[in-house]
Symmetry: C2
Subunit: 298 residues, 2 copies
Amino acid sequence: LTTQSPHPQGTPPDPSPPSLGTVVIVGVGLIGGSIGCGLRARGACHEVIGVVSAPGNDPVAVGAVDRLLPLKEAVALADLLVFSTPVGAMAELAKAASPHLKDGAVITDTGSVKGHVAQALGPIFGCRYVAGHPIAGKEHNGVHAADPDLYQGKAAILTPDPNADVDAIVSVTAMWHWLQAHTITMDALTHDRVFACVSHLPHIAAYALMGAVCDASTDNLDPAAFAAGGLRDFTRVASASPVMWRDICLTNPDAIVEMLDLYTTQLNQVRDAITTGDGQTLLDLFTLAVGVRERMVP
Amino acid sequence: LTTQSPHPQGTPPDPSPPSLGTVVIVGVGLIGGSIGCGLRARGACHEVIGVVSAPGNDPVAVGAVDRLLPLKEAVALADLLVFSTPVGAMAELAKAASPHLKDGAVITDTGSVKGHVAQALGPIFGCRYVAGHPIAGKEHNGVHAADPDLYQGKAAILTPDPNADVDAIVSVTAMWHWLQAHTITMDALTHDRVFACVSHLPHIAAYALMGAVCDASTDNLDPAAFAAGGLRDFTRVASASPVMWRDICLTNPDAIVEMLDLYTTQLNQVRDAITTGDGQTLLDLFTLAVGVRERMVP
């Protein structure tokens, strides 16, 4: 698929990045809210303005933004415009924002899928757009879970188009450095395949496990009452936002289906070995898995 | 399958259980070793004697047992005999131990599967045998991970045969109460189906996920380098002992295959919805999953 070898070390945070001017965050939940309060806490910008779909003053109250404005008014003030809504909502908002952009504004996003988002936002914003994806999260969603240090020590993946303006890349990189994240650059297709594997598949696997627990439950059998640590850890990600994950599934279908097929093939190998009493195959599969895990979490 | 409704609350620990006399633990790894050092730390018994398959004095050095003896000599001294080996090794050891048992000895085990173990050990030990399964574990295996407080506040499931002697049930219950665990009684079939769902399936799912990550890896793509928190949590259980999990798969095949089939049905529903772009089905499946998770981890 690609010959580019990603470098997980990436670019370490610049300790004194340039000021970001006025930052506008469209979609102030956990991810956008953590950007907002992280930038505000570090004096990284003149002002953070939030744009939210639902009324309510929570983003200001929790310190995620200085104030809220309607999309058009906010966009007109933005030096740096950050889209942090679920992936499926970005294209329409980008179209609505585009006519009101200030000259020289830089646009980025935080979507978990990059190919689809770049196809939607790239033609609208051209060389001023630099796609991004911070590798950080929490069990809980929403602006009340926002944390100024959410990105500290974490990676932010950038997947800029080859034609992106250098100053736009510098500006988006500076935002992540202010938040004490390091940046890693890769192409969008590689990103989407890597994260289909290490993020999208595990989330689907956890959701499906909860579905199986539900299907196994009857009036006389309540497996969930006996959920031990393993299942709780395993399914922490199954508390994630259904809307966000629906959008991820719909916007990264090819890579996710590829990974799902690798996964069900593995599960079927285990099933076959169990039904035939093939202990050696089970031992081989499980031993390989432990090795992968140890390499991943040294 | 059963009309018995298990009670997760179970019997709370008796604060002053009777002394256990001489306790012999066959298989001194994480589970057996934690029983040993927990009983020793609490003055629950006269002595803890360990029986191990491999030479080495580690169980004594870490305080899990007072001393090691060969199986026959140890068994002859046991008031309470605890089998804590992988499930697949128990039947042979039980046969070897049986002729040397002291009169009145009580026998239990800690296997994660109860139907198969009861079929193997029940005919050997008769009404003196009370099957057990503590619901506790750790990421790391082996006696060096043993912890005297591993069972504190946790549940130990007992699945005694209806003909088991009352004093044998009292003795095994006392062992878990000394370790500050509460006991829950259910039938073996219910146990095996519940734990196929909440423990065996999640372990297999985590192992299979590691296998899929491995299958997706190429010279140019190393997804494991980008493993974020979700994948790490999800796969914590994939560091468990392959031998132990091979044995669990081989000794609880019917319930595990039933749960695997529920799981792959769920995964296939997600796959179908992705390939047909059916966002509503994805949203419904994920929303249901979040609900199950919330009910499980309030």
